[in-house]
Amino acid sequence: MFFKKTKSTIRDIDEFLDTVDQGILVFKEGVKSYLNEDDESFQKNLENLYKLEAKADKKVLRVQNEFFEHSLIPQYSADVVKLLDSLDDIIDTAKENLYQYDVEIPFIPKKLKDDFLKLLDVSCSAAEAAIPAVRSFFNNPSGVKDNEHRVYFYEKETDGLAADLKRKIFKETKHLKLSQKIHLRYFTLHIEQISDKAEYSARILSALAIKTKD
């Protein structure tokens, strides 16, 4: 009776985490294909990300219902739900950002392509590191620390790279109009947002790990 409910919730959490993880990969691929001007691949990734985001929303809602309906881990359920919500926010933001590329079609000079790719990689690494940290919270709370420090590290790296890129946009690309520069800065922020969201999840996770520690 107890274990049947538990097993299905564990499965749902795992599937949700898988979906978010895949969503981050798809976002990365989508931005890469945009930078490489591969429109077909970009559209495919965008479509995929839409599906994954919808799936993640559905899963997280189901998990939340299961938590409250069966009062699972009642002392920490609100925090766990908040944590899962914050992860859902990552994939929501990724979808929204990739959608902005499709709508606004930013002009990215070839000179800045590598910088954008690097920023993308590091920012997505922060989000990717958050997933195993959350998994480890459920399976082995004492192992959370081993994973979450990576999130903080990549987030800090992202901040540095984003600052450099913004400086480069405004100082070294004299051939661009101010509106284009501002547009590029806006897309830098979009990529940066992914790691910020991951950092927020890590903070919730840290608090939870302390709370559940006996």
Binding site: T6, L72, P74, Q75, F138, N140, D214
Partner: protein
């Protein structure tokens, strides 16, 4: 009439169910790990089983402290204890049913002039000190065992939650059994002499007179659990220190173990058989033991999250309870025996006041002289009254 006298014991049983069930299931219900309905059903069944199957041991010791020999006395003693428990609970002062009944019995001893067996009293009081200490020791040991277990066996947090839920029910059932076995002496111990001689045949098993009495007491405790313990359960556990579900298992298990140790005749006999001294079978306060267990855990974690103000009020309650119950019992016995003329002990047969009959010898009648002037005065007065 017997049922009327038993009513105070049943009232005490109800109070015990309302308060002490929270020691067993309070943290589980308070942390929402177990629903109140589930907790109440399990607690009621196992309290009754514990009382009927294993309730005799602790009752025997309580009987040695003061064998209340008349139903009126038993009624008053139980009533004094019940009122003490009820009022102290009403004013939110932590109270122990065991201490209340012991205080009330000593009050009876004082009233009827029966000497209190200091050796037995010492044994009981020592368990009041030993109970919480043992509770703390068990809790600390169990904490280390649990800690080691979760360090070695990696279990998913949700599976852990399910196991903890299941364990809380199991441990709660054991705790309820031990509570019934140990504390039924408080509720029905003073009425044992009024137990019927007949057996009650249920087909599969028979209950002797004392067991029938304990069954009745167990039912009263169960009613207390169902009707009044929810409020207490909702607030218990977080008063002295905030407990996690893992800590809840430890405290409840430590409490159950201490209650079991002090009520198990078989365990005591086993101790004797291996050359150890017997375990005193004494009604222990589950409230005190659980406080000891929580304190043990709190101290293990550095003691910073213990509510010391609350602890002080609990300690004050421990000292006050037996005295209040004793004084109340003494006063109540005075009223019951002198105002309602109900015998409170086999010694105190209350004599009804008969009109004094003076035997007068017929020869003496001749010698009675009515003073002349008295009759004259009366006549004079009568005349005066008529004139007016």
């Amino acid at each position: 009439m017997i049922l009327f006298f038993l009513s105070s014991g049943l009232f005490l049983g109800w109070s015990l169910g309302a308060n002490d069930a929270a020691n067993v299931f309070g943290s589980a219900v308070g942390t929402k790990m177990v629903s109140f309905r589930k907790a109440a059903i399990i607690a009621s069944i196992f309290v009754i089983l514990g009382a009927v199957i294993q309730g005799a041991g602790a009752t025997h010791t309580l009987g040695k402290l003061g064998a209340v020999t008349a139903l009126g006395g038993s009624f008053t003693v139980a009533l004094a204890a019940a009122v003490t428990v009820y009022w102290m609970t009403k004013f939110k002062i932590p109270v122990s049913t065991s201490q209340a009944i012991v205080g009330a019995i000593i009050g009876w001893n004082f009233f009827v002039g029966s000497p209190t067996d200091i050796k037995v009293l010492g044994k009981i009081v020592s368990t009041w000190v030993m109970g919480p200490i043992l509770g703390a020791i068990f809790a600390i040991l169990l904490f280390y065992v649990q800690h080691l277990f979760f360090r070695v066996v990696k279990i998913h947090l949700l599976k852990q939650d399910a196991y903890i839920r299941f364990s809380l029910l199991l441990v709660g059932a054991f705790g309820s059994f031990s509570l019934g076995a140990n504390n039924i002496a408080n509720v029905m111990g003073v009425f044992v002499l009024a137990a019927p001689d007949s057996y009650l045949d249920f087909g599969l098993f028979k209950l002797n007179g004392v067991q029938q009495l304990f069954l009745l007491g167990g039912v009263a405790i169960a009613i207390g659990i169902f009707t009044y313990s929810k409020r207490v359960m909702d607030t218990v556990g977080n008063g002295l220190m905030q407990l996690s579900s893992k800590s809840a298992i430890i405290t409840v298990l430590a409490n159950s173990m201490v209650l079991f140790v002090f009520s198990s005749t078989s365990l005591s006999n086993f101790f004797v058989s291996i050359g150890l001294p017997p375990i005193p079978l004494v009604p222990v306060s589950s409230s005190q033991v659980i406080v000891g267990a929580i304190l043990g855990l709190g101290l293990l974690k550095g003691g910073y999250n213990i509510n010391y103000k609350m602890l002080g009020s609990i300690a004050a309650g421990w000292v006050a309870t037996p005295f209040i119950a004793g004084i109340l019992s003494f006063i109540a016995l005075f009223f019951i025996s002198n105002v309602f003329l109900i015998p409170v002990s086999s010694k105190s047969v209350v004599k009804k006041q008969q009109p004094k009959v003076i035997k007068i010898d017929s020869s003496q009648i001749k010698n009675i002289i009515v003073p002349k002037d008295t009759s004259d005065t009366l006549l004079k007065n009568k005349k005066l009254l008529n004139q007016n």
